[in-house]
């Protein structure tokens, strides 16, 4: 990226890849609503921009290729070519071709030219009476129906007194108006007579509506098209971004006089205080009614708000920053958090008021800096979701199944690093749902399900975690066939009686696949164990729920961020350990008496509830004597409460997660390390894994 040319190319690439993914989404949406002009316009614009900027930066091949697609979509836009499935297929292919062409320009594999020509030929064939169009070409196409900048209008609507007699309800008209944009409706009630003279069948009310919309003035007038003749309707532009710059607002007369030295500021002030607001003055003179003034004030307020909002909108633009720079920033903040911890510790030892107050202030600032830095890296998961739409579409077509993908919670935010790593496991899980889960249409019909299968993706926050669920309405998992397979593979003994949940967990073992036949999509048994590993590496967990014949729900629980977590610092022997605070529910004491009372069983009675516990000192084979009074940290893991016995609980700790590196990749029960205020290293415990380890151990000792 040294020459400016390279930089431009890079910029084009970034822009184009964004456009291409938007294009894909629009196409997929268009397939569902082929009549939607807005979507057709979006496809056209994306193609148009790719073509234009491609030519500008010297990507002539891309530009040329895109030209044909653009031509076809111009015709689609003018209604000469209908949107068909074939067209969408072809355009999706064209989109992929553009992607490969772009990668080729950036040094990737060269694109398949033959395929490209085939696609072009497909598009050319779609253009009716080719020669007549050839002369005019897309260069002369009519200007796009560009979206207008939002403008603000004042609508005064005073219905005819007899309006009810014609069966018109003015409220419906106002509702219709509301659909066009942001409305402020003020009723004028001045004409309502006293009750004795009131005719219930007459309409006495008039309305002033301040509406901000991107629609044309004619669209607003159209609302009143049937009552226009009998009612008083006036529509006027009161704020327009184009006109806004006009310097109509000059200094007030008082200000000018003060500036010239003709009057003193104090004099002006006293005179001004005597003066009442103009509205009040007019009302008191009986020139105008109070509600009219209020309506006018509302108009003034709305316009002011809109103007200031527009200004902030302009300034709240985005900045494109390479991800590495953000990562570096996050690392630096991590270092800062460590140093801040040292400072806090030192100040608490020194007990000096000035130092403590500085340390406290730094702590606040660091926390704020940390939050906002991490929030920069947060991205909505929607972009990942929409990528799967294409996957579902292609796969279901390949397998001859009719599958629809629905999503919710697409705006749930997750750390970019988590999102990046989430793609592969999600692909595996969705593929599994489509291939093994959802049945072919005829089978579905036979069991009385709708022909169309659904895969539902959803994301939601849950404390410091994000829950992502993949739900299908397919055949579900078959516990018996899983069991048979597991016995065949020697994963469990034939007489083992595992609960359903544990059986389902077996599908994450390496080499496990219950699919009868291997397809190009899945069934090779690689994948699910990769999914497990991947989610483990993200400090997440997987939960499977399945009902035979009804479908499968897979829930991924992931941490919001991998950089800094809230931890609970504990001591065992000479070493400190950190438990993720998000899972911790409470800490209780464990006295020797209670241990003796349990007769060797590792359970404790907490307010009548039996909670099993794991003695970390034993599990980790830490040397030294147990303390007489230990502490149990109670955590909730997959809905179960489990205690972890430690020597003492020190307190909350902002934990900057450090990788343990390749050497300790095999170390179990740990998810990383962190650096404490005194500069020493504390290990971060992976409590989920510890529970698994303890279970394994129990199984082996019992057997």
């Amino acid at each position: 990226m040294s020459t400016p040319d390279d930089m431009h190319k890079q910029a084009f690439r970034e822009e184009a890849s964004e456009l291409l993914s938007e294009l894909e989404n629009s196409l997929l949406e268009l397939e569902e609503n082929p009549e939607n002009e807005d979507l057709i316009g979006r496809v056209f614009r994306a193609m148009h921009t790719i073509k234009g900027s491609g030519a500008m930066f010297g990507f002539d091949e891309i530009s040329h290729f895109t030209h044909n697609v653009e031509t076809v979509f111009d015709l689609v836009r003018s209604g000469e070519i209908p949107v068909t499935k074939d067209l969408i297929d072809l355009t999706l292919k064209a989109r992929d071709q553009i992607t490969t062409m772009m990668e080729a320009e950036m040094g990737g594999d060269p694109p398949d030219r033959e395929l490209g020509e085939k696609i072009i030929a497909g598009f050319v064939a779609l253009i009716p009476s080719n020669e007549s169009k050839a002369q005019s070409g897309p260069a002369e196409k009519k200007p796009e129906p560009e979206k207008l900048e939002p403008r603000t209008y004042r609508v005064r609507f005073v219905p005819n007194r007899d309006i009810f007699k014609s069966g018109t309800n003015p409220v419906y008209l106002l509702d219709e108006l509301k659909e066009l944009g942001d409305c402020k409706v003020l009723a004028s009630l001045k004409d309502i007579p006293v009750l004795s003279q009131f005719d219930p069948e007459a309409c006495y009310t008039g309305w002033d509506v301040i509406i901000t919309t991107d629609k044309d003035i004619n669209d607003i007038k159209d609302v009143f098209i049937f009552v226009e003749d009998s009612c008083e309707v006036s529509v006027k532009v009161i704020d327009d971004p184009v006109l806004m710059e006009s310097p109509s607002k000059y200094k007030k007369i008082g200000e000018i006089l003060v500036e010239r030295g003709d009057i003193k500021p104090e004099t002006l002030q006293t005179v001004l205080e005597e003066q009442k607001p103009i509205g009040e003055m007019l009302v008191s003179k009986g020139l105008v009614t109070k509600d009219r003034v209020e309506s006018a004030l509302e108009e003034q307020k709305t316009v002011k708000e809109i103007r200031s909002k527009r200004q902030t909108d302009d300034s709240a633009s985005t900045v494109r920053v390479p991800a590495e720079r953000l990562d570096k920033l996050v690392n630096l903040v991590g270092e800062l958090v460590i140093v801040q911890a040292r400072l806090s510790q030192t100040s608490s030892v020194k007990n000096e008021p000035i130092l403590s107050s500085i340390a406290e202030e730094i702590e606040h600032l660091t926390r704020e800096l940390q939050d906002s830095t991490l929030s920069i890296r947060m991205l909505p998961i929607g972009s990942t979701f929409s990528r799967f739409k294409r996957l579902v579409r292609d796969l279901s077509a390949e397998l001859g199944k009719d599958i629809e993908m629905t999503t919710d919670g697409a705006d749930t935010e997750l750390d970019k690093t988590v999102i990046d790593k989430l793609n592969d496991p999600m692909v595996h899980l969705i593929r599994n749902s489509i291939d093994h889960g959802i049945e072919p249409p005829d089978v579905r019909k036979a069991v009385g399900k709708p022909d169309k299968g659904t895969v539902h993706l959803s994301a939601a926050h849950s404390g410091a975690n994000v829950l992502i669920t993949i739900k299908d309405d397919g055949a579900g998992l078959n516990p018996r066939s899983i069991k048979l397979k597991a016995i065949e593979r020697g994963l469990i003994s034939p007489d083992a009686d595992l609960p359903e949940k544990e059986l389902f967990g077996l599908i994450f073992q390496a080499g496990f696949s219950t699919a009868e036949k291997v397809t190009s999509v899945s069934g090779r048994g690689v994948g699910m164990d990769v999914v497990r590993k991947c989610i483990d590496s993200l400090q997440g967990s997987i939960d499977i729920n399945s009902k035979e014949g009804e479908g499968t729900i897979i829930t991924l629980k992931l941490p919001l961020t991998l950089a800094i977590i809230e931890g609970l610092l504990v001591n065992i022997g000479d070493e400190s350990y950190v438990l993720p605070l998000s899972a911790v529910e409470e800490c209780v004491e464990l006295s020797k008496k209670e241990v003796d009372a349990a007769h060797g069983r590792h359970i404790i009675n907490i307010r009548g509830e039996i909670v099993p516990y794991i003695r970390l000192r034993d599990l980790f084979r830490i040397k030294g004597e147990r303390k007489a009074l230990e502490q149990i940290v109670i955590a909730r893991i997959n809905g179960e409460r489990i205690g972890f016995v430690v020597d003492s609980v020190i307190g909350q700790h902002q934990t900057v997660i450090k990788n343990l590196g390749v050497v300790y990749r095999k170390a179990k029960g740990l998810s990383g390390a962190t650096i404490l205020g005194d500069g020493s290293v504390a290990l971060i415990l992976d409590i989920q894994q510890i529970v698994d380890m303890a279970r394994d151990k129990e199984v082996t000792t019992v057997a």
């Binding site: 084979r621 830490i622 450090k658 590196g661 050497v663 300790y664 740990l670 390390a673 290293v681 290990l683």
Partner: protein
């Protein structure tokens, strides 16, 4: 080790007990005094744990235990040699706890003899060759091999 050109390289020497070892200086990043090492549970004895190296977590290996010698008491000379090792085609930083660091010296490639097949207690594959200085033999270590991941992993599996 064909000595067609007498290429000169620099080596850092350290001791483990009586024995003198050398590693190529390009592999060494720095030498630290002994500091507190945090033990990682359920790992082999020779893997001492991790230290904080200016905000990075770096694993430390006890070279004596690694080579099958008995553990020594820490002395003022005990130090940690921080090295850059390629492990599974990945560069990683690792500390080696040694009895004492001696010096940096130059050795021409002609002066290095191939490792003897028999007669040493150390695995031949860990050695690049043998050098000599003032009548004392120096074992030149192939440090990447010493810390090769497969070896650590295999032992890790036994340890747990």
């Amino acid at each position: 080790m064909a000595a067609t050109t007498s290429e000169t390289r620099q080596y850092l020497t350290f001791t483990l007990g009586e024995e003198l070892f050398a590693v190529e200086i390009t592999k060494v990043r720095e030498v630290l005094d002994y500091t507190k090492i945090t033990k990682v549970p359920q790992t082999p004895e020779f893997m001492l744990g991790v230290i904080n190296l200016r905000g990075n977590v770096v694993p430390v290996v006890d070279m004596r235990l690694k080579f099958g010698l008995s553990q020594n008491d820490r002395t003022v000379n005990t130090c940690i040699v921080i090295m850059e090792i390629s492990m599974e085609n990945e560069m990683t930083v690792l500390g080696a706890l040694v009895d004492a660091v001696q010096e940096v010296f130059e050795l021409e490639s002609g002066q290095i003899e191939p490792p003897p097949k028999i007669g040493t207690w150390l695995k031949t594959e860990f050695m690049l060759g043998m050098g000599k200085r003032d009548d004392q033999f120096i074992i030149i270590l192939d440090i990447d091999k010493v810390f090769s991941y497969t070896e650590l992993a295999a032992i890790a599996a036994i340890g747990s």
